[in-house]
């Protein structure tokens, strides 16, 4: 089951805090699909990798936003 999260309106540190919280609420093996701005990538990706989650897909949209799919560790 894939959950959706849009953090395009959030600023650091809310970006990675919201993603971290959404990952915590997922069951192991669940997937979170996150829409974010490019300037949030560093903090969000760093925190996901530090928590051991795996980004399985990434896409840059034409409007400049980024969509990533994260598999819960």
């Amino acid at each position: 089951m894939t959950q959706e999260l849009d953090i395009t309106g959030d600023a650091c540190p809310l970006t990675h805090v919201k993603v971290g919280r959404a990952m915590d609420l997922l069951a192991a093996g669940g997937t979170l699909r996150v829409t974010l701005r490019a300037d949030a990538l560093k903090a969000v990706m760093s925190s996901l990798k530090a928590a051991g989650h795996r980004v399985t897909a990434a896409e840059r949209r034409d409007d400049g936003l980024v969509v990533i799919e994260v598999l819960r560790a």
């Binding site: 490019a38 300037d39 990538l41 560093k42 990706m45 760093s46 990798k49 795996r54 980004v55 897909a57 990434a58 896409e59 840059r60 980024v66 990533i68």
Partner: protein
Amino acid sequence: MGETDWRELKKGGMMRQREAGLFSVRLHVVGGQVSAGQLAAIHEAASRFGRGEVHLTTRQGVEIPFVPLESLSAVKEFLAASGVGVGTCGPTVRTITACQGCTVCPSGLIDAPALARDLDCAFYGRPVPHKFKFAVTGCANNCIKVEENDLGIKGWVEPGWRRDDCTYCGLCAAACPTGAIRVEEGVAVHLDASACIGCGDCTDACPTGTMAVAVRGYRLFAGGKFGRIPRLGVPILPVLRDPAEVVRVAAAVLDFFRARGRPGERFADTVARTGVEALVAHVGEAP
């Protein structure tokens, strides 16, 4: 007291105030780090010898103003007993500023306070043609503003890309704040080193680890200053990997300043006169 005596006092961190007979006593601080014990001693000294005031300077220094001439020796002795040294002024290597670097800050790439201590140990208070300011900042965020200094050191990541496992997702390019990365899908990821600011955002953003840290080290910027006519320092040398190498290069930079700088000339003006190439050549030849 003659002018020479005032100058000597100033070099020793005792700066004459507007009011006759009063001095502002500059303390020796490295990278803005002061222990609670030192703060207590500074508090006591300011109350006992000054007017109970402390001034925090623009470059992370601490000064105790309103100290009478006759108390200068006493305040120095009192502070020394608590491990607080008196600072410097005049044509010398000045306070070395630093951020907290990777010891505290999540963004820090290098141990900025440790490098500041190494530089302080090697060069603080040493004579030069005009004041010389070092600054160390932990990363590209540049909280310490290293390019405003005679020699600034910035924590730097040089990214490197490898083809294996790269999915060409483009997150590295999306994360890059300067557009230094171009993804040619299925073929290669191109890095423009001249546009890279060493932030490492691309390596953080990469989901597969194929855009990774190739070098984590120290980038040097020489010939910056602020004051009346500001000038930004320019990058010299490739990224250095070792703090001892930074100290060696700093020694060579100071040698160059002593050899080529005119009395009363800021290092930025010396470099502007000689060309930065002369500095780089000198540093490259130094042992």
